[in-house]
């Protein structure tokens, strides 16, 4: 069991983090204090042409991991700016790891032939995650992730997320049942501009992870969320599937429905991406720079409610979070299992960011 909330403004109007803090706080029962986290899109408009790396280090700023990672980054990227991420310990979270953020770009000469800039960044992230005592929390442009061990409202206070503004926010309240709770294991999980918050326990993990590893991904965290993020990344970025098709691969229609509709493209998708099917209960909000996707497992074994109020969309494990922020909404509904809700946002900011 976990709690998730997403707030998406399709006009890129930025709001501060206090709203989502409240929205996830009232889902306290859905977590157990072993993980909470937030992702914010539109966090660094002044640096939005650069990849924002949030890196977590075990120990403090003197940890040898810091210089090891920074040497590695210097060796293959231009680091334009780096700073400690400010934290505000309080009595419920008196201490935590050391966090630093970097704004960087790849050095073009280091890109191997046919490697895209994004492939290069993924490779960089994967490498850092294999280094001792270092973990990349987020790596996308204009995106920040703040997460750790604790209830989400306590994590919010630890990072003072009300000091950040964004046009899209997602939050997660964790009740870990598989992997033990630790700071890096909290959600959201991100790669590049894609973030996933997830409520569920996928039963196809072994199949999915092996398919991903065959395709060059390394599933180091051994969490469902990591696997879902990578599947989406592989399908949409590498194989260039549409969002709809990627969702179909993860939660496909029944064969008998495909037969009845005679839809040969869907049959083809399910045939060739059989091992990317995500089975078991899940409700996810998957965000990327262009919007959000809300998806349930085919059997709808986890709750997800969606709502729209003007240009703001909500997705939440429970309706209460939506009603708390917006007592009156234009539309509220519970998406059917396997039927994605796709929310697109404006390509660019209107006027000044």
């Amino acid at each position: 069991m976990c709690g998730i909330v997403g707030i998406i403004n399709t006009d890129r109007n930025r709001i501060d983090g206090s709203h989502i803090r409240e929205a996830i706080r009232i889902q306290r029962d859905r977590g157990n204090g072993l993980g909470g986290g937030f992702a914010v899109y539109g966090a660094y408009p002044e640096n939005r042409d650069k990849y924002a790396f949030h890196i977590m280090y075990e120990g403090n700023g003197h940890s040898p991991a810091v210089s090891a990672v920074e040497d590695y980054l210097q060796s293959r990227t231009h680091v334009y700016q780096s700073e400690q991420i400010p934290v505000y310990p309080h009595d419920r979270i008196p201490r935590g790891p050391y966090f630093k953020r970097y704004f960087l770009k790849p050095i073009d000469e280091f890109l191997s032939p046919q490697q895209t800039e994004e492939d290069f960044i993924v490779e960089t992230v994967m490498h850092i995650n294999t280094m001792p005592d270092a973990f990349v929390v987020s790596s996308g442009k204009d995106i920040g992730v703040f997460k750790g061990m604790g209830y989400p409202e306590d994590i919010a206070d630890y990072f003072r997320i009300e000091d950040y503004k964004g046009y899209m926010w997602v939050a997660h309240n964790r009740f870990p049942t598989n992997t033990p709770g630790w700071w890096g294991g909290a959600h959201p999980f991100t790669i590049l501009d894609k973030a996933v918050v997830h409520n569920g326990e996928i039963t196809s993990y072994g199949t999915n992870a092996r398919w991903l590893e065959m395709n060059g991904y390394r599933c180091l965290l051994q969490t469902d969320t990591e696997v879902i993020s990578y599947i989406y990344d592989k399908l949409t970025r590498r194989d260039r599937l549409s969002k709809r098709d990627a969702c179909f691969v993860m939660a496909p229609a029944l064969w008998e429905d495909i037969d009845r509709r005679g839809d040969e493209k869907d049959r083809y998708l399910r045939q060739i991406y059989g091992t990317a099917i995500v089975n078991g209960p899940f409700g996810i909000v998957l965000t990327h720079k262009g919007g959000a996707i809300v998806l349930n497992d085919r059997n709808k074994l986890r709750p997800v409610v969606c709502a729209q109020a003007g240009n703001t969309y909500y997705a939440s494990s429970e309706e209460c979070s939506i009603r708390l922020l917006s007592p009156e909404v234009d539309r509220i509904w519970s998406p059917r299992g396997g039927e994605p809700v796709m929310i697109d946002i404006l390509e660019e900011y209107k006027g000044a960011a």
Partner: protein, 507 residues
Amino acid sequence: MNGMANNWKVIPPFHPAFDLDRCDYLNGCAICAKECSFGEISMEPVKGRNGEVRYRPRANLAACNSCQRCVKTCPQNAIHIEHQPMYTSHGYWTPEYASNIWRQAGAGGGVLLVGNGATGPQKRYFDHIMFDACQVTNPSIDPLREPMEIRRYLGRKPDRYGEEIGPQLKLDVPIMFGAMSFGAVNKRVQEAEARATQVSGTYWNTGEGGFYKDLRSYGENTIVQVASGRFGVSEDYLKSAAAVEIKIGQGAKPGIGGHLPGEKVLKAISETRMIPEGSDALSPAPHHDIYSIEDLRQLIYAIKEAMDYRVPVSVKIAAVHNVAPIVSGVARAGADIIAIDGFRGGTGATPLQIRQNTGIPIELAISAADTRLREEGIRDTVSLVASGGIMCSSDVLKAICLGADAVYVGTPVLVALGCGLCQRCFSGKCPYGITTNRPGLAERIDVDQATFALTNLLHAWGEEIKELMGSMGISAIEALRSNRDRLRGIGLNQEELRILEIKHAGA
């Protein structure tokens, strides 16, 4: 010489025992003696109270293989089989080894032949593997209430979206009937296989004995084999089927060819195999045009060309030590499907020493093959079919969790038709009429009833697989392929766990 004959005497360890109080011989019943095709039971004359002659059944203690035919056909349930093993006081020299030598030395038994799969004491890994199930943190799925999908498509898949997909076999249940040739089994058995697979939405395999003309209307559910003997292979033969399988090897006899004794080559078989009546049908050990992997590639593409790339080409190999690199090579040679047959796989006739001592278990082979193909990034270019020793539906699902896309079953087909596992398939005396074409025996198979039995088997296993999937919270079987995370080992050592890529129970 005569003085020594008894030294080599081997009394079979089984014999029928008759409860004469129940037996109906006084009314002239002699069903058991008629049903026993091995000649173990004779009717011996005895004098009745008034001096009249009655005939009552008697075990000859010469030919019983415990096939259970007499037990099952006795209307009075008056027969059971007794096991009376010979004993040796020597702990190392068991009677089995000693009597094999007596057969060879005294009776000139030569190469000892057997049927069915290997019987040795090697570990059955399936029994050391347990499934996971959902508890609390995720819900199990009730197959009675929720859709549960066990359909599979076999054939080459492209790496990514946009590229063309190869021809596929659609399996509504992930179980196919493995190769059993016309000659090894009779036409009635093959017809039942064909009809059951048509009803159940899966495939049967002709084996290497050609495709009998009367059965060609079932071509859409038929996989035809091209083996080293090339029996019955023609353009029509290839074009009559849904897929073509090149048989390189068989789990029960890796590295050797087939042998159908001339006595079994009757008219229909001679026509179908395209060989003279009464001649031995010997398939050579290797294909005489395949001495290496590049030769196999040529044959694969020769068949594909002949078939206009409309049907998948499968390659069947026996599970041997180097199975992983061999599978990789076969995949790269262009096979769309690779069938791997473990050493427990069945046979109609195989030298005892080969059956018992050659090859490796399918559980380890399929795991190693799947792992190797994934490491090389080519797993989706080929479908893997596991076979050889699968005895129940959970074996099927365990094989899938270890990396198979589907399975072949052979012995379960025979057992479903009544086979008592007496291992005398090569004798042509099958008392159930399965592995014989003899008039009077073959008719013991009723095609309608046999079709019903095989359809029931596929249905039952399919339903059991759905129950197992539901308990694991899986609603589509492709989500279990190579899902080693849902398996745990019991009583396996580190090396076995590593090869199976599973954790030990409790971990």
